[in-house]
Structures are given as structure tokens and as C-alpha cells.
């Protein structure tokens, strides 16, 4: 029994044949992702490159996709720090590319902008259950009157869910109502929203993106790729009945357009006497840094390398003008792999800086306030200092000679003692892109998925 797993990336379509009994990768191939009109061509090529003829037909065919712009979402909340943030966390946790987020009352200009953004799904939140209702109802009316064709997921105050859904449906909008992302203050509830987004992606977005041809001929496209990575991370951390998981972990995914950080950890304070403040944190959390893609944003990251003593050595011996040219050329040709020693070193430097900044933003931090009784320490965000493993995934960890060095950039920095990054985790490289494959298998074949990860993730010093 084996599974055919496909990952449509924006540049490459990757296919894997995985033995469901052992978790072994029987064959792997990739081909450039073909034009939006016919993604199946590239996939067909990648599949025919797979050497699995002896193994017969696959037992299951599953795919994830970040092609054709990925899953584009807009999140709308009431206040930016509460339902606004809850909606953002839900959208990102569902593997979406967050195009824009809004708070408070939508203006006509906001709606005009929304229409231009052409999101696949608009997430509408606001108010706790029984709380504020006039603004979210007003926002529902604004969306109803707009030219928007996106699926609207309503995850706000349940007291006015019926009224909001009614006005949206009356204007021909497709609306799905789920439980509130913030049913009461201090209770974050994003799972129902993540699940409905996954279903909408499977049933509607795949079709809208022209992936249904692929669906019919090759494999079911079941989730966006970032969600697959997150599902893989969750399974690896939590394990299953017969297999113990790895415990709290972080997965860093360094890409050409973004750097994503996924953490599976409660993140409660590990230091005594610390007060935890702010919106509760999702145990399974994803953040996306759109300014830290090591191709698209090469120039801005290079600036950061110049300014940080810790990373400046990656630029040693490189001419200033060469750096500028190289960074600009990387942004133009995103699929390009480094050719010379200098290019490889520069690439590793860019990736290390991206990992450093992205993990720093993802991790919680300690703030000190001075009162009459001395310092009071407040934690905002997740304490990740005792996370046991970090996994690096993405091209840089497969190709770079200094992959371990790049991943070490995620660790605690003594010059930023209040940032709660991992202090002493084990480091693993996902050089075979197994995280997304494991996430695809996680529901139906969790044991195969775990065996796949245990086989392919390579520990590094």
C-alpha cells in the first residue's frame, strides 16, 4: 500500500510516493508548475517521473496547493487586539495568505479595496457572544451590498449571526456561519473556523483556481500547503495512541516570498512570578512574515545583515556593489539556486537573518514594569524557551552546506534576553519536504505520517 502525495508550489510541483506500511519515501520527483490554465501538465510530468511502476496503483492520492496565489483571505474584526487578532490567527492557522485585515466599521473605501483584493474567503468576526452587535451587522450589510464574490465565513457574535447571514444571503452571497472565534474574552476558539476554511478550500476554491482538472485526473486537493505543514507539525508534536509525539516544537519554513513559523506549544510562562497578558494564544500557531522572503525581499534582508554584528560575517569578503546586484537579481529570478561559494554564503546569510527575525516576532516576550513593590514582569505571546525540537523546512535546508547554522539563528540570543526563544532544543532538517506530505496523511494515516517524519527528519548539531 502506498500513497501518492502532491504539493503544487508556485514554482515547482513536487510528488512523493510513500509506503503506508513503513513511512518510507519510495520515489520522489518534481517538475516546474505549469501555467494556471493547466496545472495538470506539470503534475503529469512529475508523476511520470516517479519510479513506482512496480508498486501498482496508490491506495490514496492527496494534494496540497499554494499555486495560483494560494488561499487569499481577508480578516475583519471589531477591535484590532481582540476579535481582529483572533480572526487573523484563525486565517493564518488555516494556511491562508492574509491579504489585508480590517477593524471597526468598514468604510466605503475599505469595501472598494476589498473588491479589488479578490480574496477567496472573507472572514467576518466581531463582538463576543452576546456582546457588540451593531458594528458587525453594519459590516455584514456593507459586504452584502458589495460586488464581492468571495465565500464569507461569519465567526462573530452568535446573537446576530442569523441576521447577518440573512442579509448576506438576500444579496446572493455565499455565507457560512461558524462558532465565534472569541466567544468570550479570554477564550480563543479558532478550530471551527479553520475547519470550515479547509472545507471551503476543498469544495470551492480548488474549483475557482482551476485545480479541479487535476482533482479529477490525479489527486484530491484537500488543503492549502501551509495548513498541511501545520497539520504535520501538530501530529509530530502530539503523536497518537500508539506512538508518542516529540512534544513542543517549532517548524520554520523559509521560502522565497515569505518566512513562516509554526509552533505547537501552550507557551505558558516558564518563569515564576510572570503575569501572562493579552489575547490567549493558539496552541497550534502560524505566523507569516511577508517581508522575509529570501528571494523577493533579498534587498531588505541584506540591509538587516549589514546592520547586525551577529550576521555580518555572512557578508565578509563581498563587495557592497556585488551584494546589491545579487539581492536585486535574486528578487527577479526567484527559482534560482546559488552557483558560487559567495552566492551560497550570501544565501545562507539571508536565510539566517530571516529565521532570526521571524522567530523573534513569533515568540513571546517579557516586559518589566516598575511599581511600588519592585519590578513586575509581564509576558505577552508564547514562552517557547523550553521547546524541545526545531525543524527547518524549505529549499535552503535541503541545499545549503550551512543548513544547521541557518536553523541555529532561531535560538535564544543573549542580547535579546526578554524574547522567549528556544534555549536548548534539538535541531532537525526536513531536506525532503516531508512536513507537508505528513500533514496530508495526518488524518487518514497518522501512523504512516509519523513514521515518514521519523525517517526523513535528520538531526543536526
Amino acid at each position: 500500500m502506498w500513497a501518492l502525495l502532491c504539493d503544487f508550489g508556485s514554482t515547482f510541483t513536487k510528488t512523493r510516493a510513500v509506503d503506508l506500511g513503513t513511512g518510507e519515501v519510495i520515489a520522489a520527483a518534481q517538475a516546474p508548475t505549469t501555467a494556471r490554465s493547466d496545472l495538470s501538465e506539470g503534475l503529469g510530468r512529475a508523476i511520470s517521473a516517479l519510479d513506482v511502476e512496480a508498486s501498482g496503483e496508490p491506495a490514496v492520492r492527496l494534494a496540497c496547493s499554494s499555486a495560483a496565489g494560494g488561499l487569499g483571505m481577508v480578516a475583519i474584526g471589531l477591535t484590532p487586539t481582540l476579535t481582529g487578532e483572533a480572526a487573523r490567527q484563525a486565517a493564518l492557522g488555516a494556511g491562508a495568505k492574509l491579504l489585508r485585515s480590517y477593524s471597526h466599521r468598514l468604510t466605503r473605501a475599505d469595501v472598494a479595496e476589498l473588491e479589488q483584493l479578490a480574496a477567496d474567503i472573507v472572514l467576518l468576526a466581531g463582538g463576543t457572544d452576546g456582546g457588540e452587535s451593531t458594528i458587525i451587522l453594519g459590516n455584514a450589510r456593507m459586504l452584502a451590498a458589495s460586488a464581492l464574490s468571495a465565500v464569507i465565513v461569519y465567526a462573530g457574535n452568535r446573537q446576530c449571526a442569523d441576521d447577518a447571514a440573512e442579509v448576506l444571503r438576500a444579496h446572493g452571497k455565499h455565507v457560512e456561519v461558524v462558532e465565534n472565534v472569541l466567544p468570550e474574552l479570554g477564550v480563543l476558539n479558532i478550530e471551527p473556523t479553520r475547519e470550515i476554511i479547509r472545507q471551503m478550500f476543498m469544495r470551492h476554491i480548488v474549483h475557482a483556481k482551476g485545480l479541479d482538472g487535476v482533482q479529477a485526473r490525479f489527486a484530491d486537493v484537500v488543503m492549502p500547503t501551509p495548513m498541511a505543514v501545520l497539520e504535520g507539525a501538530k501530529l509530530l508534536a502530539e503523536g497518537m495512541a500508539r506512538r508518542v509525539g516529540w512534544g513542543d516544537l517549532i517548524v520554520v519554513d523559509v521560502g522565497g516570498a515569505t518566512t513562516d513559523v509554526h509552533s505547537v506549544a501552550e507557551g505558558t510562562p516558564s518563569q515564576p512570578g510572570v503575569v501572562w497578558k493579552g489575547l490567549p494564544q493558539s496552541r497550534v500557531k502560524r505566523t507569516v512574515e511577508g517581508d522575509l522572503g529570501i528571494r523577493i525581499n533579498a534587498s531588505t534582508i541584506a540591509e538587516r545583515l549589514r546592520g547586525d554584528r551577529k550576521w555580518r560575517h555572512h557578508l565578509e569578503g563581498l563587495e557592497e556593489s556585488w551584494i546589491d546586484e545579487q539581492a536585486a537579481s535574486l528578487a527577479r529570478t526567484v527559482e534560482r539556486l546559488p552557483a558560487s561559494a559567495a552566492e551560497r554564503s550570501f544565501d545562507a546569510g539571508l536565510a539566517a537573518a530571516a529565521v532570526d527575525i521571524a522567530v523573534s516576532r513569533h515568540a513571546g516576550r517579557i516586559e518589566r514594569y516598575w511599581g511600588p513593590d519592585g519590578a513586575v514582569r509581564v509576558q505577552r505571546g508564547k514562552d517557547l524557551s523550553s521547546v524541545r525540537s526545531i525543524v527547518g523546512t524549505g529549499g535552503i535546508f535541503a541545499h545549503s552546506e550551512d543548513a544547521a547554522g541557518v536553523l541555529r539563528a532561531a535560538l535564544y540570543r543573549s542580547d535579546e534576553p526578554d524574547v522567549l526563544r528556544p534555549r536548548d532544543p534539538r535541531l532537525f532538517l526536513d531536506s525532503e519536504y516531508a512536513m507537508a506530505s505528513a500533514g496530508l496523511l495526518a488524518r487518514a494515516y497518522p501512523e504512516s505520517a509519523l513514521m515518514l517524519l521519523e525517517r526523513t527528519l535528520k538531526e543536526t548539531a
Binding site: T83, G127, G130, G131, E132, E184, L185, K277, G371, V378
Partner: protein, 148 residues
Amino acid sequence: MATSRPYTLILGVIGADVHVIGITILAHALREAGFNVVNLGIMVSQEEFIAAAIEVDADALLVSSLYGHGEIDAEGLRDHCREAGIGDILMYLGGNLVVGKHDFKEVESKFRDMGFDRVFPPGTLPDDVLAWLNSDLASRAARVEETP
């Protein structure tokens, strides 16, 4: 009560203050009395009070300050509420509001000027707060009904 749902109250200790006992007792008493109580706990910033009040559509803010920095911590709260669109919200303040011995009348008038509707001295019992809340919320509800 004039409305069909219970009144919603936001409770919290403002600033860098970590005195949790009083607010816990008050939250318990008000819940027992039938209010919908959202207790934000200790070390609550003005922004947190306001965002919480907006999301839950609160009827009143009950602000506690026990460590003597009440004046600095609560300054501008009424204006910030106005800016955030909830300028009319009922606001109470209680605790050890200033350092040292002062005539409470002076303290009270100082904080009333800052926009608090009621100011309570140390030693106030939950029943006193409850009585004022019932009366203030009822008169506000009556005022709303009179408005055409």
C-alpha cells in the same frame, strides 16, 4: 432590570498594580447578584479596558487601584473612551487611590473631575457598589427610554 439581558460589567485593576484580592471578591459578589461580569484581573491597561468594553458591549467599567498610582494610571480614561466611541459608559473607581492621608472628599472630587461617575474609598463593601450600580444603571435605562 429594564433590559432583557443582564448588564455587562468590566472589572480590572489598572496599571502595574497586582493586588488581586479585592477585585476577586467584588467580581464574585456582582456575579452572585446577577450581573454578567468580565474580570480582566490585574495589570490592566486603559487600552485593554476599552477594547474589552467594546467587544462585549459593556454597560460599566469598574476600575480598581490599590497601590497609590491611581491618578497617573486613570488619567485620560474618559477621553480615551470618548475617542473609542464609548464615551457615555458608566465608570466607577475604587481603592487606595492616592498615597498618604488625604481628605476623601478631595480625592473624590479630583477623580470625579477626571470623568469617573462614582469614586469609592478603601473599605467599601460590595453591597454599596451593588446599590449604586442598580440605581445608576436603572436611571440610565430610564433616560434611554425617554429619548424619542
